[in-house]
Amino acid sequence: MNLLNIISSIEKIDPEVHDRLDTRRGAMQQFAKIGGKIAMAAVPFALGSMFKTAYGQSTSDISSVLNYALTLEYLEAEFYTKGAASGIVPVGTPAVGAINTIRDHENAHVAFLITTLGSLGATPVSKPTFDFTAGGTFANVFTNYDTFLAVAQAFEDTGVRAYKGRAGDLISNHAVLTVALQIHSVEARHASHIRQMRKARGANVKPWITGNDTGGIGSAVQANYNGEELTTQAGVNILNFVSASAASESFDEPLTANQVLAIIKPFIV
């Protein structure tokens, strides 16, 4: 294995490889010193870890988060586009405007994420084929308005948690991080309004998430809410200041990519 050949190969793809590794000069010198002593089998491992540090949050890491977000936005955009076209939203009520507003935002997010991925030289993932009944769990999603709003609430609250869970992966790219945060809070505004729409139809729900309560939707979406009941933040017990309900409501909790992908899996054919 020839270290210089490897770096030279990378240089053809990434002309800045020397700059990146230069900040790791100490590691390079260390590597050169011990290179002769360690077993050859260990070299690939040492190299991998060195490059991983130098490329901590590379363009490919950033674009994988953006493609993850794009998948969720595809889901929401198609959901509201189909819902708005289905005739399920009561004609002549403010709900029509609200659902259309949310639909337009989700479609704008899809378009914006595709543009952003393109500007990073990355390929946007294609739109999956969706089954909004989730294999029959929400069989009447486009024929029963309350089911439609219940699925909407689950999507919005989960979208908020999904963006929150990946923000840290974008911390090295200020522009992309800010855009992700700007989408994140829009999803929270949507969630708040959908919850108010459900409340107006008799659901026992508030604009914010209390404990891990699904707002009466039930076990089908329990995984979307598990973990929201947290009342300790960074070692501070929020129960010292407010009630348990308020303590959990005042902080929304993240979900990992794996948790989110498991939640949306039934909606993808």
């Binding site: 997010h109 829009v186 999803e187 309004h193 933040q233 407010v242 005042s250 909790e253």
Partner: protein
Amino acid sequence: MDNKNTLLPANGNNSFPLPGMLGRRRFLSYLGLAATSATVIAACKKDKDGNNTVPPGSIDLGTGDIGILNYAYALEQLEAAFYTQVISSPFSGMTANEQSLLTDIRDHEIAHREFFKAALGTMAIKNLEVDFSSVNFGSRDSVLTTSKAFEDLGVSAYNGAGQLLKDSNYLLLAGKIVSVEARHAALIRDLISNGSFADSTVISMNGLDLASKPADVLTTASVFLKSKLYAGNLPTS
């Protein structure tokens, strides 16, 4: 609560209440000068740590991540004080539903304020003095208009401050709070005019919410504050 314990590393500030003033005194002492304050400002823009000198009577938010957390703490103090007043002197005609929702929001803002105070410990800025003389707490219109301004401001502040944080743990904490502020903003907007939860005054054609720099946010917030905040040592990128 023992606020002498800090849960945050001392990586952006020190526990001296006015680090800028300390620097200025030392600098003057070194020069042996009795300068006018105008001369001081002109001659001594940086203290011994390279920080900008804090104007007399102002509260320095600090530097680095701690500065950004103190900036958030200042906004939460403002919001908590506002909703405490809203609930203690309800506007005329407040419905039971409105009272319940506004009480929840008050409690959320108190939770945020007390969280920052406890987490920052000795690095926390002091309690701020507010000025709500421009608000008519007896008027639903005045209260909700102010509330809307605070909530949209809070959302834009957290969205704009995320990129100024270095530690992803703090970024996550800010993320946990900003979505709750966005839920508040949407609700308050709907109380004023149903369906305005995310209208084009806050959401761009690309479906993006507002993001504002600390200096711009503090200009708006300063109308409601007797205390003067100094943001000159906050990170700008």
